[in-house]
């Protein structure tokens, strides 16, 4: 029965990976749609959240590898097709690829909604199903992302109690992605080889997303980070155009300094850009297809990185730069149909890892250069 328990945990963690990943393209799209040199604060807020989502993805994959699972990141059926629907038992909403806009920020707030902010009347009853449209159906128990992880921790504890910790944490240590290969201010990629470290990792995901107690802080000050509130509150700062002050409590609106937000300084991207919506044979269609190939190559590299080749993440950095440039190129250009709306990144998985193969075979060992005259200086 250990096998069954492990199988259940593997499935749940694979869902966690898919869930964490599915939030990244919408965040990146909103970021890249911001015109250079404008909305710096909002850009920084979204970027800080993206980096933590990437950390969550890495942590979930490390936990899955630690219990003998095989993360899957390059299978079309497992990857989102936007717009997806995030369905909780008691609420549902679409997540699309949107330009930086009040609608986009509202969506981000819904994604990161902490449990205690959901009206209490709707908390009654055991919710049993969460569905991500566009994916295959995914069963995630729980009302919020946080509760999903809480259940996952319980299941891990149960399995360890029943079958012994060593039986559960039976994964190959060389499959762990550690701080050598994964780094960013989002926090540290923990090496998972025990129930304790797994709980640390999953706990960190929940804390960064939701914050606990009466505090708005993500509680992560281990790396000398500045005061930083949890994701939901960071997005609320953008919506309210004001930062939280360290003295603000749960339920307060932000009372810190003002944040400049200008929704006009944004490329007017048509929602949910798709290859099929661009005139076939047009230059933009070509760009989009290049983007989607790069994206697919990127997913293939990520898949490799989480399946025994952590050093593949070095190539992923290069690909992130390429993806970013390509996305911005798309965003800068209007669709030639008189609508005035601009193109944007599709994040459509096309399978064939052409770009990745090319880059991996020919690329020099160091990351690709940024053009010196473009104010684009970070891979995210």
């Amino acid at each position: 029965m250990l096998d069954q328990a492990l199988k259940h945990l593997h499935d749940e963690l694979q869902k966690a990976i898919e869930l964490e990943f599915s939030t990244i393209p919408p965040y990146l799209t909103a970021m890249y749609s911001i015109k250079p040199g404008t909305n710096q604060a909002a850009y920084d807020v979204i970027r800080s959240v993206v980096m933590e989502e990437m950390l969550h993805l890495t942590l979930a994959a490390n936990v899955l590898n630690a219990i003998g699972g095989r993360p899957a990141l390059n299978v079309a059926e497992l990857l989102p097709e936007y717009p997806i629907k995030l369905k909780f038992t008691d609420r549902q909403f679409p997540i699309g690829l949107l330009k930086f806009s009040p609608e986009a920020v509202d969506t981000f707030l819904k994604i990161e909604m902490p449990a205690r902010l959901i009206p209490s009347g709707r908390l009654a009853g055991r919710p049993d199903r969460m569905l991500l449209g566009g994916f295959r159906d995914v069963d995630l128990t729980g009302r919020t992302i946080g509760e999903f992880y809480a259940d996952l921790i319980l299941a891990l504890e149960d399995a360890c109690a029943q079958y012994g910790e060593e039986q559960v944490f039976c994964g190959d240590a060389t499959r762990q992605v550690d701080t050598r290969y994964y780094y960013n201010g989002g926090g540290e990629a923990l090496f998972i080889n025990s129930l304790k470290t797994a709980k640390q990792a999953l706990g960190l995901i929940v804390d960064q997303g939701e914050a606990g107690g009466d505090s708005l802080s993500d509680g992560d000050t281990t790396f000398g980070q500045a005061y930083e509130v949890a994701h939901y509150y960071r997005f609320n700062e953008i919506r309210q155009r004001r930062y939280y002050a360290p003295t603000d409590k749960f339920g307060d609106q932000p009372s810190g300094p003002e944040m400049l937000v200008d929704y006009e300084q944004v490329y007017d991207m048509r929602p949910n850009p798709r290859q099929q919506d661009l005139p076939a044979g047009s230059e933009l269609a070509g760009l989009m297809s290049e983007f989607n190939e790069l994206y697919s190559g990127f997913m293939n590299v990520l898949h490799e990185a989480f399946n025994g080749r952590p050093d593949a993440l070095l190539q992923a950095v290069t690909l992130m730069f390429s993806l970013k440039y390509k996305a911005i190129e798309l965003l800068k250009n209007p669709i030639p149909d008189g609508s005035g709306q601009h193109a944007g990144p599709g994040f459509e998985f096309v399978g064939a890892p052409v770009a990745a193969r090319m880059l991996m075979a020919d690329g020099p060992a160091t990351a690709e250069a940024a053009p010196a005259r473009e104010p684009v200086y970070d891979s995210v």
Binding site: N184, G185, Q225, V317, P364, A365, T366, A370, P375
Partner: protein, 615 residues
């Protein structure tokens, strides 16, 4: 201007040396004032770094000082000001008054953080033999301390700067490390070009003075963030220091390829990181305060204050004069600025050596097209070098050098890739697919080597002051006398021969050309060589064992003034073949330790006096 009437230590200069001093002293509860001549917000806000970045993007010519605007109240040299000199007419085009006969080709940055804002980040140690140049080869002078004396301080400097390197690669020509030592981070991945050259040059040997040397490509230690080595510090590991004010940025080098003049994510070390790590309760930083005179008590020889001129705006020459007072003083203003200030104050110069023995690494560039594409213009400026000829018996007769292998094609000598586009479009009228193809063909094979040639200490290579040449605030402009001697030119000649051998071996087409119209140009045995500056100002207040021939003692304290320390590359008696910042940082940690020892000794003394009184 400054806040306290009296400090424990007043430091002049907010670059890496001043920052290390401030950090070390403040963590021992010493009240420190740092006076920085240039601009900069002492709270080091991230936005002010972005402002430098914007300045860089806007600049038409991306020279090292492009992001750091010239400030007439604290002027700085620019490489754009250099030109051939026809003595006795000096070149007065920029901040320097260059009397020649040869041009001193280097710049530095006067702003909070100093030249680390635009340095490349090369952090080589000196060779053990470099400390004994005179006794081994009869040239220059010996250092009063040895490699082994400095070894623990090298380790401190490597921690502070955050050096990425592998010990296995660095054990050559007598370089040795503490047992079990590893660098804070693994080496920065070598470029494709590095790997390609490693393979192609593996079997090449060259000769100098009849002796054969291998041409060995070795990764270069660098002050930029790489993968932390978990074995560092007995298994404690190392956490890379990201951007000041934005620690989530810059935790790894991302290969933005603009290290010089500015790393956009601060993955490369700059002195802000050290300033930010000082104990804020004990450090006060004041910028736009140009030290103009060191005040001294004539009878005791003790320094009594630093007179400085504070200006509110770079747009006006208006200033107010103040005096900062402390128990002890540290000059950390730069080899040129320290010497200038000492000369202007007639201080610390019993030996007459202040301002003399000015050195640099004249850099001989050679450039060629390789027969295949090696992917230049990616990654940090340089990730490897050829150090196998840094030392050897030939140093009795001619200068040694280190070869820097450049990752940015012909950028330095010709301004590629921008100039390549100009040439193909304007010069050859190409466009469209043809332009792209040709450009690709030209760019992809570009390789450039830089030979950093050593100079010997020469009393006539010097900085002086002259009341005829003042800046807007009425401070002296540096007057530079500079000659490239035959010893260094012999190094150029050997360098060019080795470069020829390398390019021949690679089947490369050599495009190197030197012209008498170049700012730095010398003729040696019938051949012309053009050199550029490396920004390595060394030697202007050297250390030694004899107060008659040196300015500071081996502990880095002025021979003449017991409460004055000098720090910076000016203390180095010779330049050898390593970029000097790491050695200078190590010496500064050594100086900080000694200054703290002085303070402790005073306390013991004061304690003894008190107990004597009590009895």
């Amino acid at each position: 201007m400054h806040k306290l009437e009296h400090y424990d230590v007043v430091i002049v200069g907010g670059g890496i040396a001043g920052a290390i001093m401030a950090k070390q002293l403040s963590h021992q509860q010493q009240r420190v004032l740092v006076l920085e001549a240039g601009a900069g917000d002492p709270t080091l806000p991230y936005d002010s770094y972005l402002a430098y970045l914007d300045e860089y993007y806007r600049a038409n010519i991306k020279v090292p000082n492009a992001p750091y605007p010239d400030n007439p109240n604290a002027p700085q040299p620019s490489v754009l000001d250099t030109a051939p000199i026809a003595p006795p007419v000096p070149n007065t085009a920029g901040y320097f008054v260059q009397r020649g006969p040869n041009s001193y080709g280097s710049d530095y940055t006067r702003a909070l953080g100093g030249t680390t804002l635009h340095w490349l980040g090369t952090t080589l140690r000196m060779l053990p033999e470099d400390f004994e140049l005179h006794s081994r080869y009869g040239r220059g002078v010996d250092w009063p301390i040895s490699y082994d004396d400095l070894l623990p301080y090298y380790e401190m400097a490597e921690r502070e700067i955050g050096v990425s390197a592998d010990v296995e690669d660095q054990q050559f020509l007598g370089l040795h490390f503490s047992p079990g030592y590893v660098f804070p981070m693994h080496k920065i991945p070598q470029s494709y070009l590095d790997m390609w050259l490693t393979e192609k040059l593996a079997d090449l040997q060259v000769e100098r003075d009849g002796q054969a040397y291998p041409v060995r490509v070795v990764s270069t230690p660098q002050g930029r963030n790489g993968m932390p080595n978990p074995a560092y510090n007995n298994g404690e590991g190392y956490v890379p220091v990201g951007a000041v004010g934005r620690p989530d940025l810059g935790q790894r080098c991302q290969g933005n390829s603009s290290c010089v003049p500015i790393c956009p994510v601060q993955a490369k070390y700059n002195a802000w990181k050290t300033l930010a790590a000082a104990n804020p309760a004990y450090v006060e930083v004041q910028t736009q305060c140009v030290a103009s005179r060191v005040l001294v008590d004539g009878s005791s020889g003790y320094i009594t204050g630093i007179e400085y001129k504070h200006y509110d705006s770079q747009n006006s020459g208006a200033y107010t004069t103040h005096v900062a007072r402390g128990t002890r003083y540290v000059l950390a203003a730069h080899a040129i600025e320290n010497a200038k200030l000492l000369l202007a104050s007639n201080v610390a110069n019993r030996s007459g050596q202040v301002g003399r023995n000015l050195m640099d690494h004249p850099v001989l560039l050679t450039w060629a097209l390789l027969p295949e594409a090696t992917g230049p213009f990616r990654g940090p400026g340089s990730t490897s070098g050829i150090p196998s000829l840094r030392g050897g018996e030939f140093r009795a007769n001619g200068a040694a050098w280190r070869v820097e292998i450049d990752n940015w094609g012909w950028n330095w000598p010709t301004g590629a890739p921008y100039s390549s586009v100009d040439q193909l479009v304007d010069g050859e009228g190409r466009y469209g697919a043809d332009l792209r193809q040709r450009l690709n063909a030209i760019i992809q094979g570009q390789v450039r080597l830089g030979f950093l040639v050593e100079q010997l200490p020469d009393p006539f290579n010097r900085v002086t002051i002259d009341p005829d040449y003042m800046d807007r605030l009425g401070n002296y402009r540096p007057v530079i006398d500079y000659t490239i001697t035959d010893y260094t030119s012999a190094g150029f000649a050997a360098a060019k021969q080795v470069s020829d051998a390398i390019y021949d071996h690679l089947w490369a087409t050599d495009y190197t050309s030197y012209s008498p119209a170049d700012a730095g140009h010398v003729t040696y045995r019938g051949q012309g060589y053009s050199y550029r500056g490396a920004g390595h100002y060394v030697g202007t207040h050297r250390m030694g064992t004899d107060p008659d021939t040196s300015v500071v003692d081996p502990r880095q304290r002025s021979w003449d003034h017991p409460n004055l320390y000098l720090v910076g590359c000016g203390n180095m008696p010779t330049i050898a073949t390593s970029n000097p910042t790491l050695t200078m940082a190590a010496l500064t940690f050594w100086a900080a330790r000694n200054l703290l020892e002085d303070i402790a000794a005073d306390k013991v003394l004061a304690g003894a006096e008190l107990s004597a009184l009590a009895e």
